[in-house]
Symmetry: D2
Subunit: 386 residues, 4 copies
């Protein structure tokens, strides 16, 4: 358990970082929601604040006055326990509360939290605070990828920032790491923070396997395109093939072919694709089809976790073949916080690793991210196994 | 034909009035599009500007430099002749160009127009200018009703302005005006401006009829609701009944029953309904069902035009029983401007009159407004005939 | 009023003719519903029978025992007054009652009707009988066009019959009939049967016009296709253009281009198109675009009715420019039969004439058929006016 | 490997059994498709026949004449390799080929197969034949459940047969079977037939667990309903809860509450529910929610396979918690037959066991059935674990 002082610092740092991410935005950018999966930045700012108000201040801070009773309706995401909420697809239809008011809400709640944790410390509150901080960090990642979608979907393709780098330098030679068959331990095992879905450290038996030390690159993905990978139905799942044909998918998200050359939208604007950086913005369906085409497969999350110490990771969230399921003896928390993870454990795939959008201290070797198989607005990539 | 000086004044007045309508808005309010029929205020500001640039400056102003070539794609509404455009339902997904940039675009184009009409006057240009002005006036009305929808659909129900009045004082006694059967002339017949769909003054034979001097009031509509008018299928068209049941319609748009009393959202915020003002925000389907319930009917647009001199109008657009069809010998204009009216002449109903949102000098006795039968975000009301 | 004896004969003839239409069918053909607009033949057989049972036998035949109480639910079409019914789109999902049982139902009801009208004659019953007969005749037309759709939509393109002729010989020279401006009378005006929507004979003023003595031919439609009529947006209504692009429409329904030559599915199977017979199976949208392309227009239903004595008609239902609206002083009948026509008087177009599928004695100069603007599985054609 | 003689007998038996299942049907029952998941019985008869023609007779029987070239288009299910096919949702729109013709097709192909296997035996052909037989057996199960849906969805609720029994007598006491932690072997391991998805016998590590010897009963499901299990969102997955609310689910499929008592449609018609027989026709979502309510969970497929020798099974297909994924070293077959299983290995759940609709010799301890999480027209039940 982190001591409260540093925890409070961690809280304040986190709150500030969220606002730093938004600094390059115009007011208008805070408001729109081009697809249902993307939330307006304004909503992220408000929702992460509401989380502290709803789960900490309202029940635990004596004399606390709620900033605005309507905000519970406006900024609840999916907690059925907590009551009615704006339908997700309506988030981009709400011009009010204004951005200014949402920032005022942030300041109000941050101050009330400082106040509370300045006097009223105990283990239960600290646990809640830690969850709230990690919750906000999760939203920081979504915030950045949602901003990318909002700008990258705009016909003017505006820059977000000149300085942010989506593609870190990387110069490893591709090699296969071999792992012997045997019993391995999986899951979180320390006092440091983790989500409930990582708990219940347990044994799995793995048959011997090989896993690549590097991520698949843009050049390899261009080869797949050039070999008509998007037209070969037998590389795809039946459901993936329907997705390709119904949505007329022919390349990763944000890719544009201009005068015969592949470009992609990045947070620095439209750029030529660097063939040697890891491919990204692909769905699980595309990751699977690519692996089939290579005569390989995706690793399971257990294979990934077992081998992760032997390769660098953290640039892309990596699709695995594993369905998102509870570990043996998984227990969901009581009350509204029990809705955090467990209720999504069906029809999604686990991603492992972390990405350029992941805030520091937010991922770890046991972290389990998860998305539906058709989504690709996150920085999703792939690593091969065989 | 108006002399150019006063036409130029008319132009400048109109440009300014559009911006006056937007003055009470927050930046965020300019961006959203809660339903496909509503356009973001930002889009109206840009589109009315693009109209002058595309149809007057680009072809006729020597040496004119287009403000931004991408804006043609962004701000074209439905002119297929003029090329590709943003899909209507995507207008609310675009945070850029920013509101500030759109105002700069307005200033740039207004100045270029002043310049052009300061030196290069001729009949053809004046005709185009006049159309452009009236086009912008049409959008002023939509702008105000779209703003109402944006704010009235927000859970916080914010005020637009304290001073605007949706309901003008009115104290006429309801009476029936009788009109004898005979041949009457319909359509525009003077040198003043009108749209192509009003032209072709022609004769119609009308059987004798009676038409009410007053509009149906909120109290009458409450009586209809209380008599279960929304539950009696035999008052409705089959298509209207489907609309009622599928959308669970039980009252006009913006009506809320709070503690047993009817309120409605207005541009001054949520208010108790005044029983004696004209009912508004009803669809054609509702207007028709109400008339059936009263044992009356809606007037045709010919009956309305023939009798309009005998009653006050201009508070509500009034649904008629007439389908929106071309008058005998209707000719649509050449080129892109030919797309203005004619291509909508199917499956819509004519509305006559004008509303509190209609700019001055914009409506007249021969004006033909038109909407689909399910729409009700305009200030739509009804007048009975028999 | 027809005397009862001949009315009873008319009834029996009509009942038999319905069954004659079904004679070429396989049992399987009676069951399917490839699109929601088409009903299974089995359903037509049952529904026309239920109409007599529900509106005549049940209320008026003393001691009559209903054949099967469930059939009211199964065979009601749209009469809300009469209670719950199978959703229209589910008609093709019901294998039972079997075809054999439906024929038994027909015999049972026909016999009970014979019985009733053998003893209990009066004006009210005769009126109901007459409506029931005409109702069944309307369904005979739908039955034949639904059968055509069922077979013509099957990949095996089976013949319905060798003997039926869709295209009657025709050899008139195209000429323009001129009609002077003036007041004309419109609507039904005799003791013979008509529907409520034809009643209320009334005056209309027509400006002078010309109308073609012949229908547009297949050759003319091929010329329209060859001139890229389906690709020229400015010939179409905005709604029509959406229909064309969303459904990828490039020719009339049932047309197939095989080895460079146009064929169409007919009730005699797939055949080469005869260029000199009237075009058919086109939507209102197509009829309108074709007329625009010719520099002409569609006649109104009033123009058609006024001029019909001067040209042959009855091969194709002819689209008019008129929206389907009530005549002045239109009154709908009381009770369930009031649902027959009036509730469809919105967002549909009037068709005049009759077609090769129309049973004898079923159409007349004042008959008003009506369909939505996108439908084309009826034998719909067009006649030009200017 | 089975010797050819008995394999040919097995083939003939299987062909005959398919027809036996259809014997109680009326011709009309062969044709309809009330939901997209259900195929018309006629289609099953044709498709299982086409499988032999396409994969055995066409490539391997010298001089074989295809029965009808169009049938490949009509009866292909999902084999992209083999070419174009009727869209799945259109299967119920095709009245032709007639049932009689489909039976003629069956006889023709069965005879050609007899002929071929009377002279031309070899290992490759035998392997194909074996797959074809098991393919037809799989369709026998679907055929029966599709028939149940067709009749059970009909408002007349007709009987299929008096003699078939959906509920076998069962009198075991509920007990928990304990299994120790350790490494277990999973997957098929003998010369007898199995599908490719069962192959690759491999090791898994299981933590200790308990599994019930009996299936959940109707009485337990009624208790769940009575305790408002369908209204408690926290028992459900988020996706399951959406399914419940959007489809207004309040009980298993085919359940009707009549005068306060639960009935269900069975192949013997509508019957009172026997509280002591296993619950069936539930989706994975319902199975999961029920287990949550009991404070238990569903077993994984590995737990099930390891323990199956200790409990009776075969009455209901049993939902497991396992996602349908490839076993380690899974290899899909070459060519069209490679499309059999592998391409469905995403977003589905494994079911284990077998049901009253499963043909004899068709299931085994390693058999992996799989369906989407919302489907419930199969005889699906559940067994608890903890």
């Amino acid at each position: 358990m982190i001591l409260t002082d540093s925890l409070l610092d961690f809280f304040l740092e986190t709150r500030e970082h969220t606002e730093t991410i938004c600094r390059p935005l115009a007011i208008e950018d805070y408001v729109v929601q081009p697809i249902v999966d993307v939330s307006p930045p304004k909503w992220h700012l408000g929702h992460t604040t509401w989380f502290f108000e709803e789960f900490i201040l309202r029940p635990h801070a004596k004399g606390y006055t709620v900033f605005n009773e309507d905000f519970s309706y406006v900024f609840n995401s999916y907690y059925e326990t907590v009551g009615e909420r704006v339908v997700r697809s309506d988030r981009g239809n709400m011009s009010r509360p204004s951005v200014e008011k949402v920032y005022a809400y942030r300041t109000y709640v941050t101050n009330a939290m400082k106040n509370l944790f300045g006097k009223d410390q105990n283990q239960e509150l600290n646990n809640l605070l830690e969850i709230g901080i990690h919750h906000e960090k999760q939203h920081q990642e979504l915030l950045l990828t949602d901003i990318k979608y909002i700008l990258g979907n705009n016909p003017l393709l505006p820059n977000y920032s000149e300085t942010i780098k989506e593609h870190l330098p990387f110069s490893h030679q591709q090699e296969w790491i071999s792992v012997d068959e045997g019993i391995y331990e999986i899951g979180h095992d320390s006092d440091s923070f983790c989500y409930d879905n990582e708990l219940g450290r347990h044994k799995v038996f793995l048959h011997s396997y090989e896993i690549s030390n590097t991520l698949v690159t843009n050049q390899e993905f261009i080869d797949f395109i050039n070999d008509n990978g998007y037209q070969k139905f037998n590389l795809w799942h039946a459901e993936g093939w329907d997705w390709v044909t119904q949505n007329n998918i022919t390349a990763p998200l944000y890719w544009h072919k201009i005068d015969g050359e592949w470009h992609h939208y990045t947070l620095n604007g439209l750029q030529k694709i660097d063939p040697n950086t890891p491919a990204t913005h692909i769905s699980y369906f595309e990751a699977f089809a690519f692996a089939q085409w290579k005569g390989c497969r995706l690793p399971t999350e257990f294979e990934w976790e077992t081998a992760q110490q032997f390769f660098p990771w953290g640039q892309r969230w990596e699709w695995t073949e594993s369905a998102y399921l509870p570990y043996p003896n998984y227990k969901k928390a009581d009350g509204a916080l029990g809705e955090y993870n467990g209720k999504f454990m069906v029809n999604q795939k686990v991603l492992r690793g972390g990405s350029v959008a992941t805030p520091i201290k937010h991922t770890r070797a046991t972290y389990r991210n998860f998305f539906q198989t058709n989504l690709r607005w996150q920085y999703t990539g792939l690593r091969l196994a065989k």
